[in-house]
Structures are given as C-alpha cells and as structure tokens.
C-alpha cells in the first residue's frame, strides 16, 4: 500500500479537493483506495455524504479500543472507502502526546490495512504539529498544493526549512500548483518564480474553477459528475504524473 498525504501548513490551498479526486481516480482504475479524512472540519467526509463521526473518537483509535478497519465506510463509488473525520481530531495532538512513540502512531494504525488497500490518501488539516510529524512518518509521498501567491510560497518555504532541520527518510515530496487563476497577474508572476526557482514541482497545474467548488454542492468527486471539465482532466493528468513517482 502506498500512502499519499495531501499536506500544507496553509489552509484553503486545495488539499481536500486533491485528496478526494485522486482517491476517486485511483478507484476508477481498479485500485482499492482508502481516504482518511484527518481534518476535524470533515470536508472530505462531507464530499462523500458520510457523517463526520468515528465511534470512540480519536481516543478509541489511539488506545486501540477500535481498529481503523472497524470505522471504515464504503463510499458510493466502487473501490473507494473512507475513514471519516471526527470532531475529536481537533485534540489529536494532545491525545498523541499521551501515547508511546507519539510520532509513529498513525503509521502503526494504518499498518494492518496495507494488504487490503493499494492506496491510502491522508487528507491533513492545515498546521505543522505532532499530527503532521505522524503523517510525514506514515506517508510515502507528500503532495503539497501551492497557490501561486506569496503567502502560500512562504508556508512552503517553512515546510522545506522544517525538513532540512528534521529530515525524514523515504518520503517523496511532490509540490504542485493548485487553484491557479491565469487571469490574475499575481498568480502569473508568482508562477514564473515557482518554476524558475524550484526544482521538483510537478508539471501539471490544477486551475481555479467553479466546477471544483461545486463538489461541495454535489457532494461527489469531480470526475463522477463532470468528467470532461478542464479541472477534472487536470486532476487526471496530475494523477498520471504522480504515478510516475510511485
């Protein structure tokens, strides 16, 4: 099982949309795919019409009163399952602190699922915390959406600095441009500097589009209702590009 986390210190950059659509695309290709909504806001769960509720909350999972497999919900899309969000995830940092090897808890929780699923997507909450450290240790790939704005680039630099100071083995960081609006001059200018200054940024860019926003109205992955739209095709292209790194 390959673990891919959509992660950014900054919020509102398209993490959830990416996780939902990539998990859906993987399932469409016949992969058994699982999405864990780690964000207490529960947007990914909402996008699949699944209640943000995990029996026993984060405490139940961390104390092994419940196994992850017990709380998995099948979505309406064949091959795609979801571990819903729970409001208790807001305290995950505190709960993790009370465990042994607090930075490896998520890795150990997902281990039993590795035979059943081909891909696990982790949709992370925006922050840099003990939960993030858990994600870094559990993930094979870190997908970092970058909006071409100075603030987004600033948080990306913070993340790079963090990795320089505390290197994590065996993780591939794949930043990509997200929610780009070519009509905006700021986006165009920042975009130039992204590709000029930085190596390893994926070629595929996800455009800012109302179809993506509609996901929260349709409560379904973009590909399931508007397969041929520009952003849906961009997500497909992104998934293909990511697969070349797996």
């Amino acid at each position: 099982m390959k673990v891919l986390a959509t992660y950014s210190i900054k919020g509102g950059v398209g993490k959830t949309a990416t996780a939902v659509n990539l998990a859906y695309l993987a399932a469409c290709e016949g992969y058994h795919s699982l999405l864990w909504d780690l964000d207490p806001q529960g947007a990914a769960s909402f996008n699949f019409r699944i209640k943000s509720k995990v029996k026993g909350g984060v405490q139940g999972l961390l104390h092994r009163e419940k196994h992850l497999d017990d709380v998995i919900k099948e979505t309406d899309f064949t091959g795609l399952d979801l571990i819903p969000s729970d409001f208790s995830y807001r305290n995950m940092d505190l709960q993790l602190n009370d465990t042994r090897k607090p930075e490896k808890q998520i890795r150990s929780l997902i281990k039993p699922l590795s035979q059943e699923y081909d891909f696990l997507f982790l949709d992370c909450a925006p922050s840099i915390s003990l939960v993030s450290e858990n994600v870094f240790r559990a993930a094979d790939v870190l997908l970092v959406p970058l909006i071409p704005t100075p603030l987004s680039m600033r948080t990306y630099k913070q993340l790079l600095r963090y990795f320089r100071k505390s290197p994590i083995n065996n993780i591939t960081m794949l930043p990509f441009v997200s929610m780009i609006d070519v009509r905006k001059r700021l986006h165009r200018e920042t975009l130039n500097s992204i590709f000029y200054d930085r190596e390893g940024v994926l070629k595929t860019m996800i455009p800012y589009a109302s179809q993506v926003e509609l996901m929260s109205v349709r409560q379904a992955p973009l590909g399931s209702y508007d397969r041929h739209s520009v952003p849906a095709l961009a997500f497909e292209k992104l998934w293909k590009e990511i697969q070349t790194y797996l």
Partner: protein, 499 residues
Amino acid sequence: MDCATSRTYLDTYDWLVYRSGGVLETEADNAGMWITWRSHGADQIYGRYTISQIPRFVSDLKVTGFRERLKKIVDVRALLPIVIVSSRIHVFSVLNRQEKTVLRIEIQSDSNPRQSRARQKNRQVILAKRVHVFPLKGYEKTARSVCEVLQQKCNLVPVVTDPLVTLLEAIKSRPRIESKKPTVNDPDQRADAAAKSIFLQLLETMEQNEDGMRKDIDSEFLHDFRVAVRRTRSLLDQMSNVLPSPRIARFSREFAWLGKVTGPTRDMDVYLLSFDSFKLLLPSEIRADLMPLYDFLNRHKITEHKRLIKALGSEHYRTLKNDWKGYLTASPPKNTKLLHAERPVIDVIGKKTWRVYRKAIKQGTAIRPGTPETSLHQLRKTCKKLRYLNEFFQDLYPKNKVRKLINSLKVLQDNLGEFQDLVVQRISLQQFILAMEKETGLTGETRHAMELLVFRLEQRNKQVRIEFAERFEKFSSASNRKLYKQIYSTQKHSSGDDQ
C-alpha cells in the same frame, strides 16, 4: 434503474477464481461493459471497472491493483467463459438522511444460461428471480434490517448458493474443485497396485490437458501435461522389483520420447512468459530493442506447436497411451517373482524415499564452489524424484511432518531450478542470436540488448550459485535428517533387499 444485460462468468480451466472464494463476471449493456470480481454470495466486491472487451488473460486488463491482485490468483491461466446468461435487472439504492447510499438492492431475472456464445436452439429457459442485497462496508446494520423485512414481510427465502452455482446447475455443470494431486492413502495396499493407481491418475491428468494443448488455450495445459509425464518417468525410475523390468524399460523410453517432443514448445512458452522480466533486466532506454526477440520466439512457438499437435495425433502416441492404459488397468498378477510387488506400499516407498534422500545429501555435499554446473543439475533431478515421492505418498505419513519436509525441499529446489534455468537461458539466447541473424538479420541495437541480457543472466547465475550453499545447509540440517529417518527409514515390515 432498469436494464437488460448479458453476463459472462469467467474462470480458469481449473477454477482458480472460484477456489479462491471469488467470482469473476463481466456485464454488458447499452452503456458499456464492466468486469466485477466479487466474493461468493457477493458479500464483498473486490473490484469493478469498465472494459472494452472480455479479457482472455489477466494481462489483457489494464495495469491496476485489480489486475495485480487477480494475477496472484490466476497467474498465466486463460480466463474462459464458463456460463453466459441474459438478464433483466432492477437496481434500487437505499439512501440515508445524507442521501448517501447505504445499501444496494438488485432484482435479477436471468434467462437462457448457456456455455458458449452460440445461439441457443432450445426453448427459452427462465430462472427464478433473485433479490440481491449488497451491504456497504460500515453500513451492515441497514442490510440486516432490510433482510429481516424481506423475509418477514415479503416471505422471501434466503438463498445460500451463489447465482453462478445456480446457473451452472441449469446447464448441468458444476465447479471442478477437487484436488488433482495424485496420491495413495492405503498403507497396506500392494506396492505394484498403489504405483499403478498413481500412474493412472497421472495418465488422466495428461488426457485432461490434451485438448487445451492442441487449442493452445494457455501455456499451463502443456506445463501440466509435461509435469505429469515427468512424474511418471520419475516414479518409473523407482519401480525396480515392483514392476517387471522390461515394462519399466519400455515405458521409460516412451515417456522420455514424449518429454522430448513436448519440450521445444514449452521452452518457447517459458521464454515468452519470462519476456517481461527479461526486459526489466535491461536499462529502460534499450528495452524496446529486445522486441525482435519477442517476434522470433512467437514465430518459433507457432512452428513448434504445429509439431506438437502432429506428435499428439501420431500413431506412436496413441499406441503408447493404449498400451500404458491397458497395462495399468490389468489386475496385478497373483504370483510374482518381483521382490517388492506384493509388499505393503508403505514399506517399499519408505525405503526408496530414504535412499533418494541420502543420494541427494551425498550429491549436494560433494558440491564445492568450483564443481561443474552439471553436478547441480544432477542434484536437481534427484531432488525432483524426492519431491515426487514425498508428494505421491504423503497421505501414508503424518501430514504436518511430510509438509515440513516438502517445504524444506522446495526452498532448495527453487534455488536449483533457477540456477539451471539461467544456465539454459544463457546458452539458448546465444543460440537465438545466431538463429535470428540467419533468419531475419539482426540490428546492432538488438544484438547489444541480447548480449547485455546474457551478461545480466550470467551475473544472476553467479549470485544464485552463491546462495546454494546456504540453502543446502538448511536442507541437510540434522533436524531435517532426523525427520527423514523418523518417517522413512523405520518401517517395521522390511524384508528382502532393494536392487
């Protein structure tokens, strides 16, 4: 939703999908075609996605997790249509308050089950309607309540058989899931009768695979046929003083011929099956240069297969089979001068197995880093004999102990097998270079790719040879020897000498 579909159930000749607890079905309607892999009873869907045509092999499916998982079960076997049925389906989704599907219900009306795509002449067959309740993971409670309602309020009866089984019954067929491993289970049976019963089971396996070999459905038919021939030859080798020597000599010669005429086609199959792994041994930029080799192998496979069909249709083969069957089905003689023919099989086989084991130890111990490759090949052949003896007569001994012996032997055999294959592949590839040059000419790039492949195989060959020592050490361990001795060399009824 209401739709008319045509469903084709697929499985391998030996029902590998069904045996693994699954069912593979393709479904086609006006909107397209899907392939679904599910559990018996459809409690669990392992995978479902769209396809453009019914796959013949797993490799015809696009590369996905579905394909990789299914490949682990069916490997290189062809997916054959086992039953085709027309169906009318009404699909209902049960939604919760969030309008999320928590349960799928399908009412299925199947008609005209048939074995092939040919139009049915008989009158229309309509099967009983079925209501399928598909629970979704995490929402099983809803499925339980709905089933209760269906049973109590609608008086529906729960069915335990999978729809596939019902359809097979309708066409008077059933899954063949019996094990095909030839064995004997009566320790007191006369040795000659026990041997003949194994030979008969092996002959049956050969006959069952003939049709698939002729039609070249997949490479496993020929493989299984050849394994049965090899097992027959191996057991014949152990039959001194159990069966008359002239018979052993004649049939050993005949089965050696059969092994020889089926060999070239199998060789081509093996190279074609290994082609992808050959490519992976080369840098990605020159992998395409190997394609002329693929075409060459395919061409020769066709020629060799024609020769094989000719051999199968020959008078020689027919006579061999008839004489062999006639001999095996004749009752054992009441009076015989053969020392072991009438003795209980457990005594005779125990001693023979122990002897083959000691021979393997002797041959293996003599192998040093500089020993010629042929010694490893000799040991490989002895190990095969030992393996077959262990397997044929495993039911006469404690199961867990024999399993242990077989497993330890397997580890050594894997190493010896890979070593020998690599030796042969290296030599063959060098011959192919010359043959391709003669037949169609060879570009510099293809020659380079093939020479690099030979080099890589040589490197791997050296590595496998190094690994041999460790594997043999485990096989010849004191505990393993103790187990062999305990099982095979302590039979009570021993009498007379083996020659």
